[in-house]
Amino acid sequence: MSTLLIIAHDEWRYWRRSKLALVTIIISIVMALTSVVLTTISVADENHQRAHLQQQAEQTFVEQPDRHPHRMVHYGHYLFRNSTPLSTIDPGIDSYTGKAIFLEGHRQNSATFSNQQHSSQLTEFGPLSPAFVLQTIAPLLLILIGYSAISRETEAGTLSFLLAQGLSYWQLLLGKVAALFSVNLLVLSPFILGCLLAASHGESSAIIVTFILSYLVYLLVWTLFIVAISALTNSNNSSFAMLICCWLFACLLLPRIAANTTQYLVEQPSKIENDFAVKAKLRELGDGHNSADPAFLQLKANLLAQYQVEKVEDLPVNFRGIVAKNSEAELTKILNTFAKEQMQRELKQSTTNQLFAWLTPALAIRGLSMQLAGTDISSYHKFLREAEQVRYEFVQSLNKAHAEQLNYQTDINRYQDSQALQNARVSANNWQILNNFEFKPFNAEQRLTQSKLALMQLTFWLIILAVFLGLVGRKSQC
């Protein structure tokens, strides 16, 4: 054990004296720190703003004067999504899904809004999110620091001299791993602080611990790989070249190939195509604004029979309101079917994409990190579903007021003169229908269950690399 520490300590002394390593270590820490500080500030700022905007939106809605209830249906309402505590570390797809939804009658404004194909653009993740730094930049910096760990000793011949001192090759390998691992801890420390901050904002400790451990394992995978390659190659140059190639492949090329292949495998109708399909389906329903539309004849007949009256005018409820309510219900069914299909396609894309994590640990940690942070596609879907629930309830409350509090005659004659228009209104008391909305991500247990595959993939990589280093250690032993 102490031999490992002696070797690790000497490695640090070497780094301190070699400018490249020292500068790289400093850059790593500065980058980690700034990315955490910057995202923490911007997320806190956004959350603050969002709380304010949400309150404002609710207030404006509630403070509307007496109006025709259907005007309020189109006046609409905004919902803002607050970020999860760990989105300070991994904003995930938040950075391009948008965080506000406009809720109004007859439309689901965001159901077709998100699009998984954006995830192939690396820049979409925000170039300096802590997650990006850890997943993509940190391995590169580790390579710069550690590529010569063993190859330097081979090249200079100190390796055989070390072994002749009675040191075992294993001790040397593990000592170098220990040294590089301590760099991981150093680079991770700002992230750990960020995670603790997230914990203080109510994130569950099970999630925080799994999150930190996952990144630790990810960097350990790279550490084992770097030391193994450095031991396998006979010169610093070939070690460096090989490691950089692997990094390019694992962190840049494969994720892109994965995204493109996924798009090819799981086809996504374009937004226009989708919109046309929705429109065509909706047209079959009839126009809910026009109670004379033949589509509502059956509804009319049923109502007249139910209340045993002859004419629509004699109904105790406003027929126009009933039509609006009914057609909203029918239309929502159709919209929900489309939204559900869209979400299933997006989920399929994301699970297909996750399969590529068997080929690169970078995708394993990327999926895992977003799932744990609650910034992945399924979290976004949860928000969409909850927003739709809010939308449907508020529109139907208004339609109910329309049916029950506004006389049918007054309603249909509202365009006769300005006085008639004045009369066709209901009290502003009816606007008190909004509940406080606050988006909550899936709970810890659900998120841990969702991330099971990615956790397995990361564990798989750890095992593979441990075995790899083991083989390298055995092969090079004399």
Partner: protein, 240 residues
């Protein structure tokens, strides 16, 4: 052969089926200095590496304290201090730091004073002690490595061409140092092609030619081995 500290027993070594050492036999008792002489490519370094355990014999054995090295690598390495043909120490460390590092890896504790004494013993100038080894000449590195080998306080010393790169005065001092160590009980195995130096210090000289030990010379009664005889045999061997 019981009290032999270093012995080769029908030792054959091959690199990828090409025989480099062929049934070599010799033994060195405690307190003796054995010099293995031979031309370039004779198999000297190969012999030495087999004793260090970095090469496995094809047949026969290289023994330390009567035990085959390839079966007892760790115990035999603890008995050995090794000075490689070209000295491989760390360029980013000073002489003292290098020595401290290697000693700590071998789990040997020596005070700075003891390290400085050893550096004085191998006559490395004190001004250089705290300079990084990347600034050292070959001879200075060699001296540092010799100091390290002394400080290891191992009962057995393996030296590969220890005097190459040293100036004549340093060679003389080195040879004296070896004699002192042997008198104090160390057993020394050195590989060299310096016939003169070998005859000066060695109790026993083995002449290696194309992987075969063609002759063995023993010093009799405190007399050194005759340089002329060895030289003739050496040259004849090379010419043959």
């Amino acid at each position: 052969m019981k009290d032999s500290v270093i012995s080769a027993n029908n030792l054959s070594v091959a690199y990828a089926n090409q025989l480099v050492l062929n049934k070599v036999n010799f033994s060195v008792a405690q307190g003796q200095i054995f010099a293995l002489l031979g031309g370039n490519g004779a198999g000297k370094s190969t012999t030495l590496k087999t004793f260090l355990g970095t090469l496995k014999p094809q047949s026969g054995s290289a023994n330390i304290l009567g035990k085959p090295v390839h079966q007892h690598i760790n115990t035999s390495r603890k008995q050995i201090a090794y000075l490689p043909e070209s000295v491989m120490l760390y360029g980013h460390l000073t002489a003292i730091e290098n020595i401290q590092y290697f000693l700590s890896l071998a789990d040997i504790k020596q005070s700075v004073q003891q390290i400085e004494d050893a550096l004085t013993q191998v006559s490395l100038q004190p001004q250089a002690w705290h300079n990084k080894l990347s600034q050292y000449s070959k001879g200075m590195r060699q001296k540092t490595a010799i100091a390290l080998a002394l400080l290891r306080q191992a009962p057995i010393l393996f030296l590969d061409e220890p005097t190459s790169g040293l100036d004549p005065a340093a060679i003389d001092e080195f040879n004296q140092l070896m004699s002192q160590l042997a008198q104090a009980g160390s057993t020394i195995f050195m590989v060299t092609h310096d016939v003169y130096g070998a005859c000066q210090v060695a109790n026993k000289i083995g002449l290696l030619h194309q992987g075969e030990l063609i002759s063995l010379f023993n010093a009799e009664h405190n007399q050194s081995i005759d340089t002329e005889t060895v030289h003739k045999a050496f040259v004849r061997g090379i010419r043959a």
